[in-house]
Amino acid sequence: MSAPEPIHALAFAPRGSLGAAPAAPLRVSFPARDIVQVMLRRGQDAAFAEAMRGAFGMEPPAPGHTATGQDATAIWIQPGQWLLTAPRGVEGALAARATAAFTGFAAVADQSHGRTTILLSGAAAREALSRGCRLDLHPRAFGPGRAASTPIAQIGCLLHQTDATPSFELTVFSTLAEPFLHWLIEATAPLGVDIA
């Protein structure tokens, strides 16, 4: 019996167009991601960075930033902690790779099922986010390659900007993904949104 595909936390979320229908509506999608939490061990900064370079081809990003390597993105989340994310692959493979690379330098916890990522893209994305996000996302204050954790609609959200469209990836606890999406729909519908 072949292993079944996991069910995405937003598999049953509504799809389609909502609200106003401007020329360039916002776009919302739910990319499947593998996500691994990496926690630096005391005093292993250099060795860890070396391992990160070797295994993923990037430096561990500084606070508030992301880094993109060969096949994964690292997002700073806490002092000494990062999320490694990559498009959905074989169950547990990213965690296994990270464990193999970081043993002795950092602890690794697979969060691929525990976190759910929503992609929001479009010219009005900042305006939509301002309906709940307390951060200053103005280009002078934020931009591609920046990341921040912040509560939105009472739900902890890791937000990172991926391009200047602007596009944002919003990563939340999977058990709260539905109410978070509800908020996002409320925030985007007045501006027009397509949910894919």
Partner: protein, 979 residues
Amino acid sequence: MSQRFRLPSGGHVDRSQRLGFSFDGRRYEGHAGDTLASALLANGVRLVGRSFKYHRPRGIFSAGIEEPNALVELRDGARREPNTRATVAELFDGLSATSQNHRGSLGFDWMAVNGLLAPFIGAGFYYKTFMWPAAFWERVYEPMIRKAAGLGRASGLPDPDHYEAAHAHCDVLVVGAGAAGLAAARAAGAAGARVILAEQDFLLGGDLLNEAEHDAWRSETIAALEAMPEVTVMPRTMVFGAYDQGVLGAIERVADHLPEPPPHTPRQRYWTIRATAVVLATGAHERLIAFPGNDRPGVMLAGAARTYARRYGVRAGETAALFATHDAAYDAAFALAEAGTRIAAIIDPRTDSAAMQRAREAGLAVRAGSVVNGTVGGKALRGVEIGTVGSASRGDAVPADLLMISGGWNPAVHLASMSGAALRWDDALLAFVPEEREESAWQRSAGACRGVHGFGAAAADGAAAGRAAAVAAGFDAADIPLPDAPSADHRPYALWEVKGGGKAFVDIQDDVTADDIRLAHREGFSHIEHAKRYTTHAMGTDQGKVGGLVGAAVLAEARGEPVASVGLPRFRPYTAPIAWGAMAGGEVGRHFQPVRRTALHGVHDELGAVWMDAGIWKRPAYYPKAGDTDGWASVKREARAVRERVGVCDVSTLGKIVVEGPDAATFLDRVYANTFSTLAVGRARYGLMLREDGIVFDDGTTTRLGPDRFFVTTTTAQAGPVMQHLEFHLASAWPDLDVSLASVTDQWAAMSIAGPKARDVVAAVVHGLDVSSEAFPFMAVADCKVAGVPARLFRISFSGELAYEIATPAGYATHVWQAVMEAGVPYGIEPYGVEALGLLRIEKGHVAGSEINGQTTALDLGLGRMLKKKGEFIGRVLAQRPGLTDQSRPHLVGLRSVDPARQIRAGSHLLVDGQDCGWISSATQSVVDPGWIGLGLLRDGEARIGSRIIAANPLMGEEVPVTVTSPHGYDAENLRVRT
């Protein structure tokens, strides 16, 4: 229907747009650009409301947010908004409004009889009477007072509109878009700053809207602002309060000017604005003069009459008088005269002035050295009585249906004061202005709100403030073109009150008179804060904007001191009243808190689960089936399935934390009262966590996954607090420990498979693991595959039966659940909910949240043996305090109703010989030995096992005999979990 008082041209109304509206059921017409007040005046409506206490007839008094009188119930049905100021309500087609606070009609309000009782119901009268007989207060006096008090009526129906919160950041926030605010925003914008310009009005310009000759500058400036990409102009946005560190709150009226909000549009939006620098350009409020009859409909602030004429193209009267103490107010007379109103008299206490001469030159009758000392009329002004300064005698009366008054201008210092600016008395303006302080470099006032009046001066002041604000926010100063225009003289003659017979109001809404202020002083309420509270002065919806300072001046005179030393009551939020719904934002009702769902939520839904709230989680309480007579029948059926066969329960909500690092075991030994460093890899152990004060905090099982890696579980309720507790101690007490924490609550779904047939079911779905009792004993843990997906199997039990827990990455939860249910068919498996889970654990005698309630110790709960004898742990020291080790503390016991049919309830108290000796923490019906059972905490509990006591629930009239038992009634030897 004709707008009899509308001028043929001029102002900022669009006469091509005719908007129909109704007031008290009568139909009228106004124009786009009108407020309800300007439209009413255009139609000659003068009487619009009744006052708070004496129910005196009242008319429109102002043209802005300071309106004390013209409060109406706007809209109908569920959208009814009581106390809406007609002076700021934007007219829309179909608007309907109703006057308020009268019994009978607006024209004949029989509550007006209160006016005759005025000598006996002055300030504070109620403190001195209504005391006898005592019971009469609630039954007679108070209902009478309550009915008479209050203003408008709430609809009592749910608000059909929605609201939203929003967040903004800027370098410079400019509050107010008059000349000063427009110039400030332009200067800051020109410097390159990100600017927000918030204006409560629907048009930008403030007083410029009354000055057609400066409209070109206004339009040009607005166009310049709109061309700056980093300047955001927000009309209809009232900044209601200044909070710490450059944070201000504002309400944007998104759809109040429409009959109802369009789809997906909130009625209002609540903004939190964070600004590096703030320019307050909030203008000034004109103040009244206290004189007898100063509240008669037709008495109006001079600036308001001018606004109605100039901005709205409405004459507020046929024959007008002006009573003013300064030159700037004369423009009202000129404006009305231009509009065709006959100016009957200009009454001015001063002997001479430039404006006076101009008025005379224009042919207006000026009465220098004069005051108004009375008004004539009933529900509308008919005449004005004019006397001379300093003389008590009544003078002659001139006919007038409009009396324009101005006692000077009060800078709107509300926001400045709230954000910490001290106020300074300005002897020339006779008003308080913000003290300029060095340390508030991030905030400055500009224009009329700091006493700089007039277009040219205010614009220059605003530009300077905007420039400085931009510099404070880190930008280079930029210059903008400034107009050159002379300013009228706003310095008033010090006349606060004209004494005479009759009520001279200082708070025109709450019916506070100058005599009331003097009475308060006579009774010792001489401090402004005391006088305010005793008389209710400045406590109405306008918060004293038009009369607050006048009352203070009356008090000052009574005290024989200058106004400056009397001061004003403390300024607090809000600058003007704000809609409840707006402040609440969108997270209300169904969305008051997010709903947290386990990965199996859809499975439970399909099974028809009855849901219950567990914090923000939704959990299945039970699953009704055809044939269940009630909820209890379902619960007992599910529990019996577990006791007799096998059941499956979603336990995903438990908190799960991976604790990893070289010091993980040391850390767990310190945070748990028992030991984990001795735990073998692949084994789980029950743990008890105390608070620092020695009270039990949480419990759960912890598994050792590797030498330095543990998997900790917490209760559902304490998952968050436990994580913070662990993080805090790592950061503060033991920064030397090398440990990392990762919450994996959402990563893993978990289900418990419990019952004598649990092993059969588990064996059928688990691959690659021998689950025989020998190979996989009680408290064993192993990674495995279940139905082809990764999983972790725990042999742990909460129900007291042979049980396993399968944890699986959340995306596979449905798949695993379905595999378990299929494998369980031959064994009669049933899903069970939280209620059955509770029943089972009470039968077994396991404590849960009802017992670990933050008040109990390990000893109380019979868990004293878990406290390790050696080594440090949180709570160890303070748990030894005598009050916590006292033998007489209530102790955990089991309870059984003597009559199996008589229910016992959690929350009942346990009476021994009539003495309250404890309480029932949990109660349920047993399935192994039918009848009502429970757990409780009972003084000398252990000693009373076997005795019969009373479970008393006087709230419900119940006294149920119960037998005290050991809490561990079911399988006390723990054989079943180990089989």
